[in-house]
């Protein structure tokens, strides 16, 4: 087997942006679903110039999503498909899951702190 090549995880790739049609292709969903997910606040396209125009329906084609949004959409799509969630349920689930994640992180940090204040 040949020596594997080294791939450089370029941090600039974090700034990658995806168009609405790219997002749809990757997640395997119809445009309308993504538009609805945006309307429910499940994800948001990156804000460009905040003109009234960018909120209009015809501006959807200029929407751009960042990597975090893409990964959230993947997650949303898996949950929707596997657990047969409707969009309001999905939005609520994701919000609650975010809260759980934050709380868990805080607990880990606090536990760590606490362990240092106990008798060693």
């Amino acid at each position: 087997m040949s020596t594997p090549t080294i791939h450089i995880a370029d941090i600039e790739h974090t700034a990658a942006l995806f168009s609405l049609s790219e997002i749809c292709e990757r997640c395997g969903v119809k445009t309308e679903i993504i538009v609805e997910m945006v309307e429910y606040g499940i994800v948001a396209p990156v804000t460009q110039s905040l003109t009234a125009e960018s909120h209009a329906v015809h501006a959807q084609h200029s929407w751009q999503f960042n990597l975090d949004a893409l990964i959230r959409l993947y997650r949303a799509q898996r949950l929707r498909r596997d657990l047969e969630l409707n969009l309001p349920g999905l939005a609520l689930s994701l919000e609650l899951m975010d809260q759980v994640d934050t709380l868990k992180q805080q607990i880990t940090t606090l536990r760590h702190e606490l362990s240092k204040h106990r008798d060693e």
Binding site: I8, A9, I11, A16, D82, S93, T109, H112, E113
Partner: protein, 317 residues
């Protein structure tokens, strides 16, 4: 191969009706969904559930499965092999296996129901599909995240042959992590996902950075937090103490009259990025378990000297 007990997996009895099976599946699917569950084997359990439900929700498949179960198609070695000449009705139909993740069904499943429909993608040569994006959670030590460095990872990548049959191959990648990544950060490796079908573009690989727990440091955003034990006399008199940071030791000046819980900030010694974080040092006054007689007598002297100090003044005494 092992005989899978789909009833046990779904937590239902052999006589359970369709609605009991559905309810149990839905409940367990919520519990073990890999996006929800934090259990280690959630992904495996979820796939097993999907497979069990695929069989038991379908009357034909369920009765075929029950038949094999009753036949006791177990070999002497405890393994399972379908009886000679076994052919499932599902194997004849294209839409036989319909589950969302049917390409992940086990060998056991395929030995009974075949892999028609589920495992086969469109074999039309002009059919072009972009390769699947892959996800990988990468755990780094704090030091590695700070300095950057190289890590080897192995991924299971789906690949389809000319007939469209999907198999998985292991792919090893050496990845150079840039310095200063933060927990939860996502990094894209363009084109390193699954290969495309029919000459289409390959998918991407998304890395999610996680930090392994560190014995001394915790992370708070871009800041590094360290609890620093100090002696009562260092707290009372002030001192200059050598403190570990992610980039080596630095001298930290403890001000005179410091208290347990006081926070000191070492600028720029947090996680590095365009605007680096700080290292926060939380002081913790620590006493030896036992004092010498001489030390005890000094404390007694101190107690007399400082008799006006009431540390519990805030308790309203």
């Amino acid at each position: 191969m092992e005989f899978k007990d789909y009833y046990k997996i779904l937590g239902v009895t052999e006589t359970a009706d369709a609605s009991a099976i559905k309810t149990s599946y839905r409940k367990l699917a919520r519990k073990y969904h890999p996006d929800v569950s934090k259990e280690e084997n959630a992904e495996h359990k979820f796939k097993e559930l999907g497979e069990a439900y695929e069989v038991l929700k379908d009357e034909t498949k369920r009765s075929e499965y029950d038949q094999l179960r009753k036949l006791g198609a177990q070999q002497a070695d405890g393994g399972f092999r379908p009886p000679p000449g076994w052919k499932s009705a599902a194997d004849f139909s294209d839409a036989g296996n319909t589950g969302p993740n049917s390409e992940h069904f086990s060998d056991f499943f395929e030995s009974i129901f075949g892999n028609a429909g589920g495992n086969r993608r469109q074999s039309n040569e002009r059919f072009r599909v972009r390769g699947e994006d892959l996800h990988y959670k990468m755990a780094l030590l704090l030091e590695e995240a700070q300095r950057g460095g190289q890590q080897q990872i192995t991924l299971r990548v789906p690949q389809s042959d000319t007939s469209g049959l999907v198999s998985h191959v292991d792919k090893t990648l050496n990845i150079k992590i840039p310095a200063g990544v933060t927990p939860g950060q996502r990094i894209r490796l363009a084109g390193q996902g699954a290969p495309g079908i029919g000459g289409a573009e390959a998918g991407d690989l998304f890395l999610e950075i996680e930090f392994a727990p560190h014995p001394h440091f915790t992370v708070d955003g871009k800041n590094i937090v360290l609890t620093l034990p100090i002696s009562p006399w260092e707290a009372a008199l002030g001192a200059t103490i050598e403190v570990p940071t992610l980039s080596g030791k630095v001298n930290l000046k403890i001000p005179k009259g410091s208290n347990s819980g006081d926070k000191l900030r070492i600028k720029g010694k947090g996680l590095s990025s365009a605007s680096p974080g700080d290292q926060l040092v939380i002081l913790r006054v620590t006493l030896p378990k036992e004092h010498s007689e001489a030390a005890e007598s000094l404390y007694r002297q101190l107690a007399e000297q400082e008799s006006t100090f009431n540390p519990r003044a805030t308790l309203g005494e």
